[in-house]
């Protein structure tokens, strides 16, 4: 029995990847790099057109500098060292904002998710605060915490907090009661149940939460740096505007895009690592 089923199971597990690959190839016949090449097509054409129209002055290059000019701006900043300063301080702010926001959300979310009392005490107030558009806090934070790092990190933490908080609660409350029963049947106490069943079972939801939290964190770092910063990528935006340098603005935007993508890819990798056991549709 074991032998024959071994073959069956392996046959069921292994070819799934194969099948998907061949399917993808069949969907795009004749294109050398497959879907990758196809999705690069449009950006390449757009970038080429942009470069040409800036070079030949079809558009005013004072307003829309060519992509190569933007890259040059970045290289120049890298060469004189200011790039690392700006990127460094922005990453520093988002890192601490993310850590504080996630930490607070984890603690409060777990409490509210596990206990009816905590839910009654905290959740209504937190939901009420959530209704305030978070950017409205900026003036207050600046007033309270000054224009230093404190107010910026706090603002980012507020942005990160809510998606993580909601997802932690959602994750905990949707843990399968039947799995918890298995633990109870083995006489496990509440702490053990939390550690061995509730935490791992709500991990998927938590990871979704920190990914959208990080996305909001990037949004809030821009907001924080737009208002009263003397360093950082957001400050470059203001600088570009004030000195009429659209290449600086676009360079900053490009850096935001790249950094946002890289940090998200990192979390996505983490998510895939941690959740390889999940039986979900989008997994290969």
């Amino acid at each position: 029995m074991a032998l024959s089923q071994g073959h069956e199971a392996q046959a069921g597990v292994m070819p799934a990847h194969e099948k998907q690959k061949t399917e993808r190839r069949q969907r795009l016949p004749g294109i050398p790099w497959g879907s990758m090449g196809l999705s690069l097509l449009l950006p390449v054409i757009l970038l080429g057109g942009w470069e040409l129209s800036a070079r030949f002055e079809w558009v005013d290059s004072h307003l829309l500098p060519a992509p190569t000019v933007i890259l040059q701006t970045i290289f120049a900043m890298a060469a004189d060292g200011s790039l690392w300063q700006h990127v460094g301080i922005t990453l520093y702010r988002i890192f601490w904002g993310f850590v504080w926001g996630t930490g607070a959300a984890l603690v409060l979310g777990s409490l509210v998710g596990m206990s009816r009392y905590a839910e009654a005490v905290f959740d209504p107030s937190i939901q009420a605060i959530r209704a305030i558009p978070s950017l409205a806090w900026v003036p207050l934070f600046i007033l309270w915490l000054g224009i230093g790092e404190g107010s910026k990190v706090t603002l980012i933490a507020v942005g990160v907090f809510f998606p993580v908080y909601l997802n932690v609660i959602g994750g905990i409350q949707s843990v399968d009661r039947k799995l918890i029963e298995v633990g109870r049947a083995y006489g496990m106490n509440t702490i053990t149940l939390i550690r061995r069943i509730i935490l791992p079972a709500s991990l998927p939801s938590f990871l979704v939460g920190i990914r959208s939290g990080l996305g909001l964190g990037w949004m809030f770092v821009v907001a924080a740096e737009l208002m009263g910063a003397s360093q950082g990528l957001g400050y470059l935006l203001v600088l570009g505007q004030n000195t009429l340098r659209p290449d600086t603005i676009l360079a900053s935007i490009l850096l935001f895009a790249v950094l946002g993508k890289v940090t998200d890819a990192f979390l996505k990798k983490l998510q895939q690592r941690a959740l390889h056991w999940q039986d979900s549709a989008q997994q290969k």
Binding site: M1, Q5, A9, V13, R184, A185, G187, A201, D279
Partner: protein
């Protein structure tokens, strides 16, 4: 360990699921709870296991009347209920405590027994329904419980695997003599495994019959005595067509 159930009733809201159910499982006895769907078999098992404490009446396990869960009980649920984030091996180790290496040795030996040797590192999503249920069976057996509660453990399996696992259960019973209470709606299964069959009927469910089987195990399928008993049981369950006895 003996299990004595006295006048157990369970009401959900204003609907009574079971009423005044009493029976006894002696030490080492295999008791079958037989009945149609929805008559309260799982409800009684949950009351015995202590997972449900909202019942009226008394449940006495090994001379102690208590309401909480007891670690000497092993439970096999109607569904596998495996932790999806654990491998087959870790799922089997789930309820064990103590030295890691020892746990793994024990779990491996049991997986071998249920025919899952070589699948230790698989995750539940990679298992078929039958393999998942066998993992769950191994998980319940690995602690060597004195009393086993089984809620339709084989109902999701194909006929062939079912027979094999019934044999496995009898094997385990022969070596360790655990008390077993097994819920089923498969009359053949009850007849081949049980020393006593409790028939539940109606809604709310009440005990209709308490039949003691003295025939030695293993029992032959075509035994005329058992065939007659099956007729009786079918009649008391009111299923006139003999093809109906195996609900899904």
């Amino acid at each position: 360990m003996s299990v004595i159930i006295e006048q157990v009733s369970r009401t959900f809201g204003n609907q009574t699921a079971v009423r005044n159910v009493s029976f006894e499982a002696e030490d080492g006895e295999i008791v079958g709870l037989l009945g149609t769907s929805g008559c309260g078999k799982s409800t009684i098992l949950r009351a015995i296991s202590g997972l449900d404490e909202g019942y009226d009446g008394k449940v006495n396990v090994n001379g102690k009347t208590s309401r909480g869960v007891s670690e000497d009980l092993g439970i096999i649920f109607q569904e596998p209920r495996l932790m999806p984030w654990l491998t087959v091996l870790d799922n089997v180790c789930f309820g064990l405590s103590g030295d890691k290496k020892e746990k793994r040795e024990k779990a491996k030996a049991l997986l071998e027994k249920v025919g899952l040797g070589g699948f230790e590192s698989y995750y539940p999503k990679q298992l078929s329904g039958g393999m998942a249920q066998r993992t769950a069976i191994a998980r319940a057996l690995v602690t060597g419980p004195d009393t086993l509660l089984l809620d339709e453990p084989f109902s999701a399996l194909d006929a062939f695997t079912k027979l094999q696992l019934q044999d496995l259960l009898l094997q385990i019973w022969e070596t360790d003599h655990p008390t077993m209470i097994i819920v089923t709606h498969d009359i053949d299964e009850a007849l081949s495994l049980c020393d006593r069959i409790i028939i539940l009927k109606g809604q709310p469910g009440v005990v209709d019959k308490n039949i003691k089987l003295t025939k030695t195990k293993p029992r032959r399928k075509g035994d005329p005595e058992l065939a007659k008993l099956k007729e009786d049981i079918l009649r008391s369950l009111n299923t006139t067509h003999s093809g109906d006895e195996k609900g899904a």
